[in-house]
Symmetry: C2
Subunit: 421 residues, 2 copies
């Protein structure tokens, strides 16, 4: 199995100033290509530490991917150290990257400075993948058998640029390292615990052909990603065999399956609404805007999303959403009745086809009627209104996130039911 190591370079990570999210994204891509990540490390902007660590990682692995340390400022010494490590005695100006730098600066209305131009300089002993998302080139150092017999990819540290570089880097890796085909199918599942899911699909899983492998990849916010993989063999034939198994699994999962595209719940809801040509609104109390934020994080959501009311105060529930004060008095703010009235209220006010609502206690405190972590979710649509109650045992932040995910899933199930009728 091909082995890889991911190495983040930069003092700002070691002092805790920023969280490294690049390594995780790179690891996902490597793992999906069947490459084993043996180690991730973060080191500082120091020549000796960069040299020592990279030599060690290059000795132990086939592939080393670094991020960071390639900016135009004087702290960023990675390029010089890589020149040294590769035995390059000079730099060459890469015309393709220079053109890209010019283009990026032009689009921002800026002139090219000497420090910008210097970013197109690369050590002579490296290949370049032009960075379409930023000014620092992606450098590829192919060390021959007699030194390390390994390849180092140097990516920029800015997350937007690092993530943007992953597809080109993976293409190069596939070309130079991988002989075997791997085929994955993702099935995104929500609303069932890992243990219950495992029990539910055990008969199917036990009967899987030996060359197919199933992985459970749970995430508290997006549910469980089931990934079915097959290694080697002819691509076309494999695809047909995997598809057959996926079809069987889909029947077992039913409406617990929400996407086959490694999608989010909010993107899935958006896709369904677009298909049907219907619109959506939201009324949020305890989720405080998180549901609306998730829905609008999907590009193009303005095609189906009309808006929301965050009714944190009772007066806003009554005045803006028209929740009757008697309903609140009789049943309490955190109740099925108020969740229903909120969903119906925002649907009426915005004129949307569907509406989702939440009312609950995210924490840190509960109230006299309900423990902390309680939520009532409402969904209203052309065929009526439904509510559901959930209780989570997390801190405020995580409770808000789980309330929002559960509400999106509840809404999805209502839309799906209407679509299938």
């Amino acid at each position: 199995m091909i082995q890889a190591s991911i190495c983040t370079i930069g003092d700002e990570i070691l002092i805790g100033q920023i969280v490294d999210t690049n390594s995780s994204r790179i690891a996902t891509a490597l793992e999906e290509a069947g490459i084993r990540v043996t180690r991730m490390l973060s080191i500082g902007d120091s020549r000796d530490e960069i040299l020592d660590n990279l030599r060690n990682e290059l000795t132990l692995n086939d592939i080393v991917i670094t991020t960071g340390g390639l900016g135009p400022t004087k702290d960023d010494i990675t390029k010089g150290v890589l020149a040294e490590l590769s035995g390059s005695t000079g730099y060459v100006e890469h015309q393709g990257q220079l053109e890209k730098i010019r283009e990026i600066l032009h689009s921002r209305g800026l002139d090219m400075l000497e420090s910008n131009r210097a970013q197109a300089l690369v050590p002579e002993r490296c290949d370049v993948i032009v960075n379409r998302k930023g000014t620092a080139p992606i450098m590829v150092f192919r060390f021959p058998e007699e030194s390390f017999g390994a390849t180092l990819y140097a990516l920029p540290g800015v997350p937007f640029e690092a993530v943007g570089a992953i597809p080109s880097v993976m293409d190069d890796i596939r070309k130079h390292f991988l002989t075997e085909n791997i085929l994955h199918r993702n099935l995104m599942v929500f609303g069932i615990a890992e243990s219950a899911l495992s029990e539910l699909i055990a008969p199917w899983e036990d009967a899987l052909p030996e060359d197919m492998h199933l992985a459970y990849l749970p995430n508290p916010l997006t549910g469980i990603r089931l990934r079915l993989s097959i290694y080697g063999g002819s691509e076309e034939e494999d695809a047909a065999r995997v598809d057959k198994e996926v079809e069987k699994l889909k029947k077992i999962l039913g409406d617990k399956l929400y996407s086959e595209d490694d999608d989010t719940l909010e993107a899935t809801v958006g896709r369904l609404l677009k298909t049907m040509g219907k619109t959506l609104s939201a009324a949020e109390s305890c989720t405080g805007g998180e549901i609306s934020h998730l829905i609008t994080s999907v590009p193009g959501s303005s095609a189906y999303y009309l808006g929301s009311v965050t009714s944190y105060a009772i007066s806003v529930k009554e005045k803006v959403l028209g929740v009757p004060s008697e309903t609140i008095e009789s049943f309490g703010v955190v109740s099925s009745e108020v969740a229903a009235a909120m969903a119906e209220g925002v649907r009426r006010v915005t004129g949307s086809d569907y509406a989702v609502s939440t009312t609950g206690l995210a924490g840190p405190d509960g109230d006299e009627r309900n423990p902390v972590g309680t939520v009532w979710i409402g969904a209203a649509g052309p065929k009526g209104t439904k509510t559901v109650n959930k209780i989570f045992k997390n801190d405020r932040k995580r409770n808000i996130e789980r309330f929002a995910a559960s509400a999106l899933d509840f809404l999805r199930l209502m839309i799906l039911e209407d679509l299938n009728k």
Copy 2:
């Protein structure tokens, strides 16, 4: 300088399934105590790799902090490997942790299983810090001079528990490793670029006493944290000297300083509103709920926050917020006039004292009038309405975040002006 290494154990990180946020939180605490983090690494759940890596880190550092691998499932082998590494030949049941486990299970209405009880077992050669946030104890292995002459702290991997353990771990580190006092003062600044800030405070910075050190810790969402530190000396006297310098700096920073407590903008706005006994609402278009989400992420925000309207559709701007359709037609949706009308509209509808609004283009596309990244922000209060225009050059997600942060800061400045009148 005391040196430390942070090591995350668990396959789920190496396959990119989760992002490691624990290391960053631990690094922040270590750095603030004047301890240098030399390296962070993530390794898999494999005996050999754990042993090899920890031996190496213990040789090179004074302190090694691990997270993860301490759960009750069979993948979690860290405890056994630590027993081996420390030469422990048996386990002892830690009564304090056992009591804590019983308490946690009881609060969740669960009985104690054998696997729960086993979590209180620790290798005989370790000290225990009782974990108040979870069931896995915090284990401290003090290796004598003749083996590594270093201390290893083993923390659980669940972020809530790992972060909860940091204060106790830092107390132990202070007791055993630190002789010198360090005193920090944080000043949070927003709305000025790092280079401009550096120029603004240069005369003050150049005149700082030699034993004081200033650090710039920029963050695109919370602005720049200026940290003034003093090492060694008598605590009381130092505090007085640092305070004197902070007072001078505050005069220079003026209203660009938003907090002295390492706070967020949303918490600062909340603090100001509480002081004045005033209320707030929001009208969001391009930020889609993010401002409301940030405001309500502060515990206790229901004391001053009434709610918001996300008016993604023009019809909601007109019908719910009462923005005149002529205003939209004459000036366009992304305009000073619409931002003002939205803020005034939500203030009227909710009856709040203050209101903040956004209308803009987060991306991926601009429109015929404005480039992508354009936002108009409005703030309305008892003394009138103001608007401001900003342009950012990020992707959709980051643009939304920066729009929201800028809106909160614009609102803060309005409230501050009223407070100081």
